[in-house]
Every structure is written in C-alpha cells, then in structure tokens.
Symmetry: D2
C-alpha cells in the first residue's frame, strides 16, 4: 500500500494508441514484487518518444505512460526488494527490462532481448511498451534503477540513458586510446559520443553534420575537427584529416542510410564502425567488398546495453563532463506538447529538452 | 647463389599483364636477405587466380608468377635467415606479406595491411602482385613459410590457405561451442568453414547453396542441415531450423550481394555475421536498422589473417579432418589451362583443383 | 497453492548447520513471484556438497536443503511467470542466483555477484545458502531453469552444471582451434574440460593426474596424452609434448596450490591459464615474473558463469559427447550418506555420483 | 656506405659483459637490409639498464651498446627499405625485435616472442642483447621506428617506450570508462599508467606508494587519491575508497612480490589485475582461491606490446599530456655514470633521467 503522503491519482502523459497521446489523470501505481515506487522529478524528451507518439511501438500494451529518460526519488519499496535502495534515495532509471531468461539477457545484452516485445515472455520496455516516466510517480523493477550521484542534478540525470548509448557505441566500436574517431551526426547521442571518445583517449575527434550550431556544440564538447557535409564530402574530408588512410573508428549517429554508407567508406582498413542511428525502414547500400577487404568490424549499437548506464554515471559524476551544450531546454509536464514540439522542430537550437515533473 | 643441382631456368605460369597469362621459361630466382628458395610441389587453383588472370590485381608488378596456395620443400636459405628452416624441410606458404610497419601489420592484421598494394611501402602479395607458386621454384620471405606436418601431403597442404580463411571466418564471426551456425555458399571456403565450425563446437551447422552435389559434400563434411536456396527461402528455413529466432552465427561465403543481405536478415538478435565472400563491385542492400536493433556484429574476413594458417595446420594434421570431398582434381603444371577451366566451370563436380609441379 | 496431486511434506537432505546434515521431513515449498515448482528427478553429488556439509558456506541461511546439480520436471508456475516453461517440461537448474543489480550480474558475471552471500542484497546460491535439490520438490526462480533436451536423461542432465564449469574454463582460458591444451586434475571438471577442449578444436590435449584409472578415463574422453605426476615431472613432460615451448593453454582443475604453480610454469610465453580448482585457504606460490615476462593471461573461473549451461546443454545434446566414463554411480535419496561416502572416498572408481529422487 | 658527414667512430656506452659497462670509442654502424641509420639525440635511463649493467641479460651478444629508450633523426636508409622514412625524419625507437615467425610475433605479441633471447632464431632486443642507443648513431630495423611528432621534443620522446608499457598495462588490465583504478608503485611506469587510466575514462584513480614526493607527482599527474603504504594498509584503504568492494582494476607497477599479492587482494570480484612490475627471482604468495572465486583476470604485461607505442605517441602528442613531473633530470653522454647513479639512488627526487647525445 502506498504511503499516506501520496495522492491516489496523478497527471500523466498516456499513450492510448498510435497517434493518441493524452495528458490525463491516472491512478498512482503500487510496487509489486521486486519493484520500487519512484517520485519522478525529470524526464528527457527522446526522438523515440515522438515515434511512439505517432506510430506506437512493437509490443506496446496500451494504455501506458510515455517517457523513458527519467530520474526521481525512491518513495516506497515493494515486497521482495533488497536493501540496496531506500526511500529518499535519488535514482536514475534504465528502460530495457529484458526477459532475463534468453541467451542475450543472460550475458548483459538485454537491450537485444531475444523476446523483445513479447510481454508474455517477460519482456518490458518501460516508456515504450509499459509505463514510463511522464508522470509524478512510476513503478520500476529494482534492477532497473541506479543511484544518482549528488554531483548530478535530476535534469542532468535525464541525460544518462542517452549518454549510455553513446558510451556503448564507443565500446562496441572499440574506440581506443590514440584513435582518430569520426562521429557522424551531431544530435545528442553523437555529441555525447564525441565527448566520450575523448574520455576513452581518442587523440582526435571529427564530427560531421549539416547544421552549423550543432557543429559548434561539437567543438564546445571537445571535437577537434568538424565538417559540414553540405559544404564538403565527408568521406574525403575524414580521410584527409586522418592522414590519408581514414579514421580508425567511425560512430554513425545520424540514422540516415547514406550516412551508414559513408561510415563504411571512410574508415581505414582494419577499422571499426559502430552504427547507433535509428534507420527505420528500407535498406542501406553498403560496400560489402570493403567490409571484407578491409577486415572491418561493423557493429550495431542497441541503446544503453551492457550496463553502460553504470559506467557513464561514474564518468559524468566524477569527471569534468560537459552537459550544458546539450541540455538546452526545460518545460513542465503540462507543457509536454510544447516540449515535444521544441525538440522535434529543433526550435531555438534545441538539442535535449527536459520535462520537469 | 643457387645450389649446383638447380637448373638455371624453369617453366612458370607468368602474368604479363591483365588477360595475359603465359606458360613460359624464366630464371630460377635466388633468395635475398631473410628469404628462402623453395622447390614448389603443388599449388591450388583459387578463384582469385582467375580474377588476376583476367583483370590483374591492385598493385601488381608485371610480369610475375601466378599462384598463392602452394607447398614445397626448402632448397636453400638466403642470407640473414634463422635456423628455423633447413634445406629439405617440407613447407606451406602464406601469400600476404604486409609492410610490417603499419598499425594493422603490427598487430597481426597483416592481410589488411594499410599499405596494401603499395610496393614502395613494403607491401607484397605473393602470387597477386609479385612472384607466386606456379613454377618449379619460388622465393619467399622466411616469415611467410610454415612447417608442413608429415600427416599432410603436398596436395592436402595446398588447402591450408583456404582453410585458414575458413578458420579466420569462424574466429572473426565468433563461432562458439553450442552455436547454431549457418554457412551460406558451399564453395571450398564455405565447406571448410562448415567443418571448422563443428571443430569449434557448433552444435548444429546449416549449409545453404544452389547445387545439390555441393550440398551433398557439405553433409559429407559434417553439416547437419542443408537448404537448396532454389527450392526454399534460406532466411525462413534457417530461422525455423534454428528454433525460430535465427542462427547464432552466420558465415557468408557465397560472395553475392543478395547472400550478404540474407546473412544479416537471418541471424538472431545479438548474433554475429562473418562476411568472407568476394563481392566485387556494386553495393549490397543491407538492413541497417536490424544491425542496430539486433546489436549485431558484422565482421569482414580478409583472407587467412591473424596467423590462422598456423592454427588450421595443427587442426588439419592432428585431428580427423575431412579433405577428400573438397580435393576433387589434380593436374600437372603444363595442364594449367585445363586445371583452371575445370575449376572455373566446375567441370565434373570440381571444387578444389590442385596443380602438381 | 500447490496442485492437489502434491503431498504436503517430503523427505529432504537438510543442512541444519555446519556438520549437521539430516535426512528429514519438510514442507513442500510453494512458488512465489517469478518462481517455479519443480519435481526433482536426479541430483549430482559435488565436492562442494561435502564442504558445505562439514563447514557450512558463506551466507548460508540454515536450515536449507542441500544439492545444486539437479534436473526435474516443472509442476507448477508461480505468479508473474512467463510462458517459457509449462508444467511437464523437463528442466535443468542453475544454482547461482545473483542479485541482478551489481556490475557483475548485469553483464553475465553473476557467479561473481558483488553481493555474494548477502541475502539482504538479493543474492542466493541455491543448494549453498538457500534450498537446493536433495528433495522431491524444489522451488526455483524461472530464470535459473533451462529446458532439458530429450537427448539427455535426468541423470545425464545433472552433469550440466559441472560441464558448464568446464566449458566456462575453456572460454575464460581462451582455448582456440589448434591449441595444445594441458588439463591438470582429472576429476569431473577436468575430464569434461579435456573433452570440451577437443570440441573447441584443440589439436592435442594432455591430462595430468595422480590416479591411473582417472587418466584412463581421460583417454576414453579424448585426451591424446596423459602424464602421471607421481612418475613424471608434469612441467617438463608438458613442455616436451608440446614441442618444447609449453602448452598454449593450461586448465588447472586439481585445486591444489602446487598445481596452480605448475600451470603457470608450464604454459608457453603468451599462453593462457584458467584456474578452476577449489584451492581453499592458504596462498599459492606463483612465479609472478613469468606472468609478466610471458605476457600471460591467468584467469579465475568461477563456476558455470556467463550462461555456459546453455551452450554446454546444446553441445552435450546435439553432439556425440561422452558422459559414461564420468557418470559412475547412482543411488537413491535415502542412500545419500552412501552416495556421499562413495564420492568422497572415490570408492569403486567413483567419479560422478548421482542421487535419483 | 655511410654519408660523408658521418665520422667513422663514435663514443658509446658499451656492455662488455655483466658488470662491465664502458664508455668507449666504437665504429659507426652501417645499416643492412631493411635497416636505418639514426643519429641518436636522447636516450632515457631505465631500471633494466642498471640490471643489464650489473648482471647482463638473457641472450646478450656482448659487446653491445646499452640503451633502449631513445629518439633521434634518420641519417641513412639501408637497402630494401621502404619510402616510409626519409633522411631527416625525427623518430622514436622500439626495442623488441621479435623473430617475426612465431605464434606470438605473428599476432602482435612480439614482446613475448617465443624465441626470446635466441639470436639464431631471429630474436633481438635492442639495447638488451644487441646494440642500443647510448651512442651517437644506432642502426635499427625500419619496422622498429616510429615517426616522432613535432609536438614532442627528443627528450619527451624518450618517454614513449615507458608510456607504451603503461598504456599496454591499461589495455591488458582492461581499464574501462567509469572504472575506479588503483595503481601500485609510483615509478615512471606507474605514474604514467595512472595518467593514462584517466585518458581511458577512469572515474577515479588511486596511487599507492612509499615516498611522499612520488605520491605528490601522482596527484600532479591526475591521481584522485594517494595512499602511503607506510602509513596505511593499502588493501583496506583501496577497498574503502572504492566504495567497499574494491577497485575495478588494479595495475601493479611496484615490482615487489608483496605488492602483487596486495593487487589481487584488493580488487573487487570480477575485477582485473595487470602486473607490469619487474619481480625478479622468487615466488609471489598469491590468493589462488580469490582469483577463482572472484572470476578475476590477472594479466602479465610484457613491456610495450601490441604496437602500444603508436597509440601512446598519438595520445602524448595530440592531447594535453603531463610529462614534466616525470622528466626530472638531463645529462650528457659522458656523464652517463652520474645519470645512472642519479636514477638508481633517486637523487634529488629523480624519476626519469634522460641522457642527451
């Protein structure tokens, strides 16, 4: 039963079905076995929020509360929980709730759960297929919470999921100390990936994109070189900057088929490519011969895998990590439409938009 | 200077230029610093021989002797050699002679030498850009020779380079004990890859192809399942055989763009794909979104990398390794045209054709 | 509530405290959230059973039912379970139940859960600190069950946990195709590790030990060489057999400090050593300089980590895997004392002893 | 033949035998096949120099010129060299010259060449077994040279070999972004390893040692915590600072058996230990049980392996890398005795001593 101080109902941004997002009053949830009730404080707007809003999501159990990049404060522990979290603890959440039984979940690849989207097999994706964080309260399995260090505000903490994708992209692509790294696509994931590449010892980082202000943000976050692909051929430019042979590692975060193609074209023989963009339908035209001749590694990067949130939390809280250039806007929950619009249309240079709750 | 028993000239299959392969008399070479003179005994016909014959090769230094899958006997050591080889030793050769200075060569990725094709930077590809093995004698850098165990005949030894590609494909694709492995393309590399997958502990191996006799050879070499792609959709068949979710690992050895596409389509979430085919020009249409959503590893496999010849030599000589289904034909050097024709047109069920010298 | 056909109580081998193992009547358990009730069919005797019997175990919650290598049949699903298991399914169990929240559990290293032995933090080790399988029924979290293929009997299935340790040892030690592998200690883990090394493509496997019948069993399971350490110096013998430089990989399964020392002494430069023995108290005297000079990898192997049960189940059920030489004895539950005595004192050549239930 | 401007003889620090280091006049060497003549500019004093001076080295070919951490300028190319280096190029050298044929050399583990110390099998260790850099000129195989970027002075360049060991230690120990890293032993390797750990994204770095000035240097190079092991128990302190469970990674650079023991004792379950110290004779008493129970990785770190000099050169030249706290003293070649004495007795706070030539 919920603590006395908690109201019975709350306002939430609820997905009733594809194309039907509604700000409405719902019951405050109660934590079940192994679950924790959290008072949500802030939730970031992600590109997939818009996709879910408009088209739904594989395996969605309508109606559910949208939002998956959120932080808050522990209110109450359900039965069968550990003593790892206590009421009052500041926490960040992780959205992928793998089945826990498949060959991927068992070895830390839970973002690629074999039972993805299959609720009856134990898979849940919080904020995608079941309740998420655009509400005053949310219930989460204990194992999907992380302590939010005092060095990070609730708003900064909403970046953790995104930054974890960026870190995982660096890890999957094998960015090494000394590497020349090219990052394609200066959205939030790309910008954070560029900065994290420097934290992994990249000697030089190039960011390519189409918008001057974003490339400026890239430089503010540590990029050594930027190329505007509207002005220069990014493949030729990357190879020249990297000394003729091409970058050691390329992270593709633009989510455009042509960019995936360029990522493979520009990397040096023996290099590594991490694809973290959201490509949607259709096929990319890739140079398969170069993948072979170059003995390349091309890796897919599915979200914040392999507990990368843990590592990026330590990185962001203990090191001098730039977040301001990315955290551009804040709104309240009742302004969620404006928040989404600001994000979607990149109004006023918006990169990351946070909804305070 | 060459030993007295060696003639001054020899017959060799010489590439004078693209489209100009000639069986002609040339000088017996002399070993330079760090080099060894070898009496060639057998040389296998490879698909790339035909490609070189017709179109030449990146960085070729015409004229040169063709042939890169060969075994023989050490005749004479050049200056500055070690005591690792002695006259009379039976040896197998390795064709990729990386520059030895670049970031790839230094860490065992010499088949992807950054200076590939650049003679002035120290790169040589024996039988591709400089002298190879379709001749009575060949000179090789000592470091490109391997002792040929007594358990392997000279003819069997010509398979080592090919089998090393197949092993490297298994290694790059990360075939693990317990895996369901699909191999696309039952040519020599694919058939050997299927068998090697079993030696790496694959629980089940599927081979897909278009020719019934080749699929029969696959079963003779240990494949548990075969699918004729002219009769069944290989993606659906592979997924069903693998229990619904798809193979854990896929090795694509057909060298056809559509097959590369199928390899990615059929693999399970979290799975691994190794591309070892020769795709040539053009682009493959690949599902980039699935690479990301599936957190896939797609790796290029450039030839017999990372000293795989050493490991496969031990595997083939010490274990009960089937070679007969692949070693289908033998010819003499003066029949090289027939040998190549037999291979190229798969006459009489030809898979691997060996030229005795 | 339990199904009608199930009795209220059952006989179980219960640990009341260190040195106090009792065959007694206890309540049949009921499955909680995410749990499954299983009718146990067979449970293997492990060396740690004896250790627990005599000394207890870190974090033990007395009283609890002993036994952790067991198979059975699903009887009933608790609340919040998936549809992955159904009543009647044949299953094998996995004992390590990590907290699910720590940095190790999150990435598949749950056998090394950071909260090992801390019940309040969610760690349970079934048969070690909480109820196991020496009883007619046992309750397990769904995620610790694996489908037992029809190719394996319940008795053979009790080997899965042990064989998974052996496989994990091969994986941690990085046994590669072509390797010369030395296995020290022909107990069940060592014998199975030797066989699995062959399945991973080892070209030659040496097993060293002190008992002739065990070395005979090793040869029956595929070892190419055996050395009786009472008759020969194992380090010298291993190096000679491996061609002078030492084995590529060594798996130490004897659990004796001196054997750990020998493992490091015998491996070649650049080689890999996996320690899977149970060494207990005291310190091993190891050549730290050789670890450095040899650029060695020395890895600890904590039980059936990283979902190795899944992979070994496929290996054992789909390939021609020898189990008979290891499965030497069977007893009934009321003979558990005799079973343990037979195992402990290796009576009648006992290697693995199974208790049918 | 040497260029006209080069004298016929030069002063060199020559090892005539164990205990017999002499500053004497020797012939200027001429580059052979694949070799390059370099005008040495600076050579760092390493702890192994003192060891070689006093006791010789495995496989030493007396007499030879001592010194292996050196930089200089290309003077002349021998025959069979590439166009990668040209006269006038600034270069740094790498001392390990593996046989190039063994299983380690072939895959980038040339510092652990299987033929280590065997000259007849092609192994040379420049400055250890054959001529090194305490002389005006030195001849090196082309493949052991690296371009020295203009951002690094000749003196700074002498740090590259040491820093490459530190980087390789980080790589072998698997330091990841977010890790709490403990470095034992604030000598040059340890101090540089601590700094490099930060460049690899370590969230916090602890350095333990016995000398206050060195711990101060550690803090100047980025260490977050230091512990004087004369005042505190380093195991308890490291575990407390790391939040109770121990560091994620430990790099042991003190080269003392007790420190190796502490490294293993302090690391968390599932953690990684890199041993890079020079332990010499005798055995370390290590907790083998903890290696197993903790599923630990204990890796030996043999010098500047796997082309780490390349990566560290890029790191040191392109990033803001602190070198001053380590580069404490400079001398001329005729003061080599004083240079060695200053280094050996750590006079005047000496950490790294450079000999200008």
């Amino acid at each position: 039963m919920a603590a006395k101080s908690i109201a019975d109902t709350m306002t939430a941004a609820v997905m009733n079905g594809p194309g039907d997002l509604e700000l409405t009053e719902v019951d405050v949830p109660e934590p079940g076995s192994g679950e924790v009730l959290v008072r949500v404080r802030a939730c970031g707007v992600c590109g997939t929020d818009l996709e879910i809003r408009d088209y739904g999501w594989e395996g969605a159990k309508f109606p559910f509360v949208l939002g998956h990049e959120w932080t808050g404060e522990v209110v109450e522990l359900g039965p069968d929980t550990t003593d790892i979290f206590s009421p009052g603890d500041r926490v960040a959440s992780e959205p992928h709730d793998g089945c826990g039984l498949c060959v991927n979940c068992k070895v830390g690849k839970y973002t690629a759960c074999l039972n993805y989207g299959e609720f009856s097999k134990g898979h849940k994706h919080h904020g995608f297929t079941v309740d998420g964080g655009y509400a005053k309260y949310s219930v989460m399995p204990e194992k999907l919470l992380h302590h939010l260090p005092e060095e990070l505000s609730y708003q900064e903490g909403t970046l953790l999921t995104t930054a974890a994708c960026s870190l995982y992209a660096n890890e999957r692509a094998g960015v090494e100390a000394g590497d020349f790294v090219a990052v394609i696509g200066p959205g939030a994931i790309g910008l954070l990936a560029a900065q994290i590449a420097k934290f992994r010892g990249a000697s030089e980082v190039l960011v390519t994109g189409t918008r001057a202000p974003r490339l400026e943000a890239a430089r503010a976050m540590g990029a050594d070189h930027t190329v505007n692909v509207r002005e220069e051929d990014p493949v030729a430019a990357a190879q020249e900057l990297a000394g003729g042979k091409g970058p050691d590692t390329v992270i593709e975060a633009a989510g455009v088929h042509q960019a995936a193609s360029q990522a493979i074209d520009m990397v040096r023989r023996g290099g590594r490519v991490g694809l973290v963009g959201n490509y949607g339908e259709g096929l990319a035209e890739l140079d398969a011969q170069w993948i072979v001749s170059g003995d390349l590694d091309v890796t897919g990067v599915k979200a914040e895998g392999f507990n990368s949130i843990h590592r990026v939390t330590r990185l962001m809280s203990k090191r001098d990590f730039a977040m301001d250039p990315v955290l551009t806007h804040e709104f309240d929950l009742d302004e969620i439409e404006t928040a989404m619009d600001t994000f979607e249309n990149r109004r006023d240079g918006a990169i990351k938009v946070v909804v305070n709750i």
